[in-house]
């Protein structure tokens, strides 16, 4: 019967939980299956039945019982008396049952130490299990049992696990270190040995956990990090996200002790230091450091460079930790790269916003400029939580300066009216702060605040009074009107802080309002007994000050108030009264002090400084708990100051382990059996040492030199593959072509085989090119793809290539929704422009021509064809592209031309990203000996790509591009241009646009899109009678539109 009913409940997953609820007897019984028990059972009985179930032979019953017990634990109920029954099942074969027993054991072992020992032998056995998951979980549980007697066993287990084959088990052992340490700090020395060993581990899985253990056990042993520093930096990208956070914060501390400050006043530092990495790590640029004022240690730069990509992490904690690393370690001019990412985090959950805003608040005090461009991201929304609102307010106030104050104040005006009165009050304080910080707006703010005094809401008025008080104190001279106004307010305001402030103001400036002050005192005397303490204190103050300045009128009033104060309930007030009386009323007992009463009470007081609550938060490391709560949290590790002289940097040097021998034997196996796997490994790491060996197996056997970390990659590509044909992929889809044509067929082959290479495309180009000619000879049928090949000058590559490739592209295009298709140009102008005259080029002549084809290198580039001719009498060698300007100009260069014989010429193509502007692209054309500055000036029409679309789509697009996006002109066309064919040619010659079929004879339509941004361009030419025509251009890029319109006008008007 019993077993029946429990079986019932196990049919339904709720059973376990529900019956657990039953046992708790906290909530009303809701479950059906447990209701039977509920009638007659007590707590004791319940546990009894659990015990029976656990001792039963049926696993399902045991499991059911354990599930209920876990339910009890989850509810926080005590289930410790079941310990003996549960612990028996620790050796169960059923893995779920075992896991639940583990959960129980970890929870109660501390309370039942003797019984817990029964289970230890099971774990010791499991530690030797062939299954890594079982080994790991045994270690996890063993180390979680907080029983001091087994410390030696734990120690042994940790040491063994630290050299386990499986990185997962090693990771677990790193966690166990911390557990053991918290159980028995005396084991520290032994544990440090294990940490030292694990720090050397090259697995990304272990890195995060061991650094965590390091931080917990021995954060002061910085020396353990030296040898592992570079490895950690390089592994960082591949470590799991939680580990990244821990490693970054440890490295921040490390860097502050090992490198000199990059925050020099002169701020110039040597960026070239980066090069040092790529060379051997051993030869350091130490000599340079002595000569130059500041050279960033290459290791310092390494850290900054390797953490930067993590700003793009989806994990907010990682982004924040990189941001704090930059804040604390980067040169001043580089810190601002974190801004964007921090602002991005503001889109995240409320709690994330809170922490990020706090950190931004601290940062914005020191570095306004960092966040000023993003000011609008801090505008308050009515749906924000109150603490978010006040943080945003804080940041806006910090960002306020002369230039943006009017915008900010306008925004503040909205906030003052907010229904959230606490927030409105905060805004008023913020206005006050702006007013003191920016003197230009002090008066404006003050007037605004005075207006607020007539507000209906009391908190707003009170806050305004308090702020006005502070402002007036800064410059009281011209504001006696405001003081009078406030004196009048006293009758209506009930908020004690505001009343106290007004009283203080009147007392302080009683000489400016001689008539009003005594009257105010009179009123206060009447209501004294019913006032709040703070108001009473200020009343006493006011009375004292008036007594000193105007004793004739106020003597009696003062005495009355002092008498009231003498018998007040509050001891502060009694105390103050007694003190004031002695001070101001001369009598025989009063000492020397009363002589100075006037100087004491009416001393000029310095104006309060209104400053941010986040002013002093920067003493804590950003992103830490201590920073958030603004007190030192336990376990907070101070960030040390930069050392004046950098400690020896050679301590970080590591012997480079030659990986060649390690991988050589396994080459055949891994290379063939699991090529996909090994290339997978490569994708995500380009400089991790440990992957170095696999890198070799992925490519070919020829890369004998891939030893040192970063050099490895380039080396393995340098060496020509011995048999290129071997690399022919079995299949390559047309879609591959698009990715590969840029560097030629060789590239594609390499790309297909060693899948990872494409990650390094930019690196590979120069190395691969030398083999192009041989490859092409071998593979005649594909030679037409080799646009860059110097031997193919007579072929017009584009015209051959584009149709087939484009159809492929079309077929594969994802954007089926778009009806626009890039088409070939309607007309390619033959005209070529001079790039370099042979005289200035010392024999090298160059001409360029716009091919008007979509650029294959990158869709947003314009493709340009350059023909180079050698008119000199000697060979020109190594023709390539050198420096370019503007600096950000993106050019897809042609590959270096090794040599050009006299009178030979070669045509190459390149891609230039003009960024949709007609600004000339300037660059240097270099030969071996010379450099010539040249420039390519595009006509506006060449920046488009022809597009085909239907008339219907054209109309639809045109409908979207009205107003600002439209420009038109009426012109008189010459007679020959009135028929459609010449007209089409004229337009097509002027701009690279496609003809749109038109239903009307007199309307001609053309469509294109800009190369860079892909903005649609629509041209309509409507012929009217008597050779008039209206040209209309619709495009988002209105500048380009009007330029094109000008050109078209000229072109159509001329014969």
């Amino acid at each position: 019967m019993l077993s029946m009913s429990t079986n019932n409940s196990s049919y339904n997953d709720q059973g376990g939980a529900d019956s657990a609820v039953e046992i708790g007897q906290e909530t009303t019984p809701t479950s059906n299956s447990g209701a039977g028990f509920g009638l007659f059972s007590t707590d004791f009985k319940k546990n009894d039945d659990l015990k029976e179930m656990l001792e039963n032979n049926k696993e399902s019953l045991k499991l059911e019982a354990m599930k209920r017990i876990v339910g009890l634990i989850a509810k926080g109920k005590n289930a410790s008396e079941l310990f003996p029954a549960v612990v028996k099942n620790v050796a169960s074969k059923n893995i779920e049952l075992k896991k639940l027993v583990y959960v129980y054991l970890v929870r109660y072992a501390e309370e039942q130490q003797d019984l817990a020992l029964l289970s230890i032998s099971t774990f010791q056995r499991a530690l030797k299990d062939p299954n890594q998951l079982i080994r790991a979980s045994a270690l996890r549980v063993l180390s979680s049992i907080r029983v001091p007697i087994i410390i030696p066993i734990m120690m042994l287990a940790i040491k063994e696990a630290a050299s386990d084959m499986s990185p997962y088990v090693r990771k677990t052992s790193a966690h166990a270190i911390q557990k053991l340490y918290s159980l028995d700090p005396d084991q520290k020395e032994h544990l440090i040995e294990v940490i030292e060993k694990l720090l050397k581990d090259k697995s990304t899985l272990v890195a995060g956990s061991v650094v965590m253990a390091f931080e917990e056990v021995c954060p002061e042993r910085i020396d353990l990090i030296h040898k592992n520093y570079r490895k950690l930096c390089n592994l960082l990208v591949d470590v799991e996200e939680w580990g990244q956070v821990v490693i970054i914060s440890m490295l921040t501390r490390y860097a502050r002790t090992q490198f000199t400050s990059p925050w020099r006043e002169d701020g110039v530092f040597d960026e070239n230091s980066e090069r040092a990495f790529y060379e051997s790590d051993e030869e350091k640029t130490r000599d340079d450091t002595e000569i130059k004022p500041y050279t960033m240690d290459p290791d310092h730069r390494l850290l900054l460079r390797n953490t930067k990509p993590l700003l793009q992490s989806r994990n907010t904690a990682v982004v924040m930790s990189v941001a704090q690393l930059y804040w604390h370690l980067a040169p001043r001019n580089e810190v601002s790269i974190v801004t964007k990412s921090l602002v991005r985090l503001l889109r995240s959950h409320r709690e994330v916003q809170y922490i990020v805003l706090q950190n931004i608040a601290t940062m914005s005090i020191q570095r306004k400029g960092m966040f000023e461009p993003y000011m609008k991201s801090f505008y308050v929304r009515s749906t924000d939580a109150t603490h978010i609102k006040s943080l945003k307010l804080e940041i806006l106030t910090n960002l306020a300066n002369e230039a943006n104050i009017s915008t900010i104040l306008r925004e503040f005006q909205t906030y003052v009216k907010s229904q959230d009165k606490q927030f409105a009050a905060g805004t008023i304080q913020a206005i006050g702060r702006c007013a003191t910080n920016i003197s230009e707006v002090t008066d404006t703010c003050l007037n605004g605040l005075v207006l607020l005094l007539s507000n209906r809401d009391e908190t707003v008025v009170a806050e305004s009074v308090v702020v006005i008080k502070k402002l007036l104190q800064a410059q009281p001279s011209q504001h006696s009107d405001i003081i009078k106004h406030m004196a009048k307010l006293l009758d209506n305001i009930t908020v004690s802080m505001a009343r106290a402030s007004i009283l203080w103001l009147i007392g302080e400036y009683c000489e400016r309002v001689p008539k009003i002050a005594p009257d105010v005192l009179r009123k206060m005397a009447k209501s004294f007994t019913s006032e709040e303490d703070i108001v009473k204190l200020q009343t006493v103050n006011l009375a004292a000050k008036l007594y000193l300045t105007n004793s004739k009128q106020t003597k009696l009033l003062t005495q009355y108030i002092l008498n009231l104060g003498k018998y007040d309930q509050n001891y502060d007030i009694r105390d103050r009264t007694r003190f004031i009386r002695q001070l101001i009323v001369p009598n025989e007992k009063s000492g020397a002090l009363s002589k100075y009463a006037r100087r004491i009470l009416l001393a000029p007081k310095p104006a309060p400084v209104l400053e941010s609550a986040y002013k002093d938060r920067d003493r804590y490391q950003l992103g830490t708990l201590s920073h958030t709560i603004n007190t030192k949290a336990s376990g907070y590790l101070e960030l040390s100051d930069w050392p004046a002289v950098a400690p020896d940097q050679s301590v970080r040097n590591v012997e480079v382990i030659e990986p060649v021998k390690e991988w050589a034997p396994s080459l055949g196996k891994t290379g063939k059996s699991k090529p996909a796997k090994s290339s997978d490994d490569k994708f995500y790491s380009d400089s991790g040492e440990e992957e170095e060996d696999e890198k070799g197996s992925g490519t070919s056997s020829s890369n004998d030199g891939s030893s040192s970390s970063s050099a490895g990659l380039s080396l393995c590509l340098c060496v020509p593959p011995p048999g290129p044909v071997l690399y022919l992929p079995e299949t390559y889809s047309p879609s591959d072509l698009r990715h590969c044509v840029d560097i030629g067929f060789v590239k594609q082959l390499l790309f297909r085989v060693s899948g990872y290479l494409h990650v390094f495309r930019s690196v590979t180009v120069s190395y691969v090119v030398p083999f192009v000619p041989q490859e092409v000879k071998l593979q005649k049928e594909v030679s037409l793809l080799d646009l860059d090949d110097c031997e193919l000058t007579d072929v017009k590559p584009w015209s051959v290539l584009s149709p087939s490739l484009l159809t492929d592209l079309e077929g594969l295009s994802l954007s089926n929704i778009s009806t626009m298709q890039v088409s070939g140009p309607a007309f390619v102008p033959e005209k070529s422009h001079n790039l370099l005259h042979r005289m200035t080029g010392k024999g090298l002549a160059a001409q360029y021509q716009f091919t008007r084809q979509p650029c294959l290198y990158q869709p947003n580039m314009v493709s340009v064809q350059i023909s180079l001719t050698n008119t000199s009498d000697h060979r020109l060698e190594q023709i390539h592209i050198g420096e370019r300007s503007p600096a950000g100009l993106k050019i897809h260069c042609f590959n270096t031309i090794e040599f050009l014989e006299p009178d030979a010429s070669v045509t190459v193509s390149m891609g230039i990203d003009f960024n949709d502007s007609t600004q000339a692209a300037n660059f240097q054309l270099c030969t071996k000996e010379d450099q010539f500055s040249v420039s390519i000036q595009p006509a506006v029409g060449d920046l488009f790509l022809a597009v085909t679309m239907t008339e219907q789509d054209f109309r639809k697009e045109q409908g979207k591009l009205q107003g600002m996006n439209e420009c038109s002109a009426t012109i008189t066309v010459t007679a020959e241009n009135t028929s459609s064919q010449p007209l089409n040619r004229r337009v097509a010659a002027m701009a690279n646009v496609g003809v749109v079929p038109s239903g009307q004879d007199n309307v001609h339509r053309f469509a294109g899109k800009t190369a860079c941004s892909g903005a649609v361009l629509l041209v309509t030419v409507e012929l009217r009678e008597s050779s008039a025509a209206v040209i209309t251009i619709n495009t988002e890029k209105s500048v380009m539109g009007s330029m094109l319109l000008r050109d078209l006008k000229k072109s159509l008007a001329q014969a």
């Binding site: 049919y11 696993e59 499991l63 876990v70 339910g71 509810k75 059923n94 049952l97 896991k99 959960v103 929870r107 299954n131 790991a136 996890r140 499986s166 997962y168 966690h175 799991e240 939680w242 990509p309 992490s313 989806r314 994990n315 904690a317 982004v319 930790s321 964007k340 991005r344 709690e351 994330v352 809170y354 922490i355 990020v356 991201s377 505008y379 929304r381 009515s382 749906t383 909205t414 229904q419 809401d457 992103g623 830490t624 708990l625 958030t628 949290a633 336990s634 376990g635 907070y636 590790l637 996909a676 997978d680 994708f683 879609s735 899948g755 954007s815 947003n860 639809k956 941004s1013 892909g1014």
Partner: protein, 418 residues
């Protein structure tokens, strides 16, 4: 790091606790309850609360507070991010993350928490790894388990845990190979009284649902990658490739995941898709207020504006409203003063409007501030920024996958001040 976790429901009961180190008494939550009482709204509870011996870091989701107990210094975002990940995992496993769902699956919850943290340090948070360790409960599996005696708990270490692509398990097989990408953009805006834009920005995400066999390697390129000003990636995206070529290259996780979130550069002017005409007035001394609201499409790129929902927190002085919507339904809660108008689709020929009067507390003075109007809407098949996916290619596998892409624009925090 994380010492203990308490789950607190909206009425202030602790309904689940879990300890990773020695047990912390649940009385530590009293500090939390204190803060909860002080806060006027549930959202106003501070996320970090210091107590004499511990620190409480909490997140609020689905009206459940997840309160983590911390004993020493740790980056607060680390804990917050982790707690959110826990919620996401629960949602992934149980479909919803409610008190009832957690109570019903308390054993799975416990097993999950056990795997997610070891000694307070995150161990496995990738959903595919967790799913191999602990299978999500389904009715079928529960029945099968009872009959066969098999369990929800995996016996082998998940392959992903050890590989460099921990987000993908090996041996994935599908008969239909599909990859779907949703480009969803949200527009955040503040519009002022006169209808001019104070601030407007576009944030977007690309959510993917990839069901592909084997180890596919995908590349996704955009027509206009320049639009993306700031991006954050799923760990699977190769950053180097993006830096160099603005191409997303990745081995996708199996199933649903967020590939990318981005921010569109603020230099580009943002087209505001809807406009609001409003006339909300309270007259001094009168117990009546006027309320008029008309919505209309503005720059919608020819697409219809759907699922429009307007809500507004009216001032406290408003007792009731008597409004007349030209379409849709409206509700007004006299307790919270929240006005909600479910508009539906905007018909450009016949603009939806909501007109009528509000009755105010007699004798009370007129409210200072006019209410802010929050608008939600959707525009299908278009991404407001104009972001377009150029193409998607697959390498590494031989089959032809079915590819699809969908664009959508939504209102994020879209507020109109009146």
């Amino acid at each position: 790091m994380i010492h203990s976790l308490f789950l607190v429901n909206s009425s202030g009961d602790i309904f689940l606790e879990k300890h990773w180190k020695s047990v912390v008494s649940r009385s530590v939550c009293d500090y939390f309850f204190e803060a909860q009482e002080r806060a006027s709204e549930p959202e106003n509870v501070p996320p970090v609360i210091p107590t004499p011996h511990h620190y409480l870091i909490s997140v609020l989701r689905h009206r459940i507070y997840f309160v983590a107990v911390i004993q020493s210094e740790v980056p607060p975002l680390f804990v917050i991010e982790f707690l959110h990940r826990v919620v996401d995992t629960f949602q992934d496993y149980f479909g919803v993350c409610t008190e009832a769902a957690i109570k019903d699956n308390v054993v799975v919850v416990y097993e999950l928490l056990e795997e997610m943290l070891d000694n307070g340090f995150p161990l496995a948070t990738e959903s595919n790894i967790l799913k191999e360790l602990i299978k999500p409960p389904t009715i079928l599996r529960t029945v099968v388990n009872t009959i066969t005696g098999s369990t929800n708990v995996g016996e082998q270490l998940p392959t992903g845990q050890l590989s460099v692509v921990p987000w993908r398990r090996t041996g994935v097989k599908y008969t239909n190979n599909e990859a779907y990408f949703d480009v969803v953009e949200e527009i955040d805006a503040i519009i002022d009284k006169s209808g001019s834009t104070i601030t407007a920005e576009i944030q977007g995400v690309i959510d993917a649902c990839v069901k592909l066999t084997g180890m596919p390697d995908l590349t996704l390129s955009f027509m206009n990658p320049r639009l993306l000003d700031d991006v954050s990636f799923h760990p699977c995206v190769r950053f180097k490739r993006w830096e160099a070529e603005r191409i997303l290259s990745f081995i996708p996780p199996d199933g649903n995941f967020r590939l990318l979130s981005y921010h569109v550069s603020s230099q580009n002017l943002v087209a505001i898709p809807v406009y609001v005409k409003h006339n909300i007035t309270f007259r001094e001394g009168s117990s009546q207020g006027r309320f008029e609201l008309t919505l209309g499409p503005k720059q919608t790129m020819g697409k219809g504006v759907e699922a429009v929902l307007v809500n507004s927190q009216l001032p406290r002085g408003v007792l009731n409203t008597n409004l007349n919507p030209s379409q849709g339904t409206y509700t007004f809660d006299p307790v919270t003063k929240l006005l909600t108008w479910d508009v539906g689709k905007i018909n450009p020929q016949k603009l939806p409007s909501l007109k009528g009067s509000m009755s105010l507390q007699a004798g009370a003075s007129k409210p200072d501030e006019n209410p802010t109007i929050n608008i939600q809407f959707k525009i299908q098949q278009s991404a407001l920024s104009g972001l377009k996916v150029n193409r998607l290619d697959m390498y590494g596998e031989k089959y032809k996958p079915f590819k699809g892409i969908k664009y959508m624009t939504k209102a994020g925090k879209f507020q109109v001040r009146t």
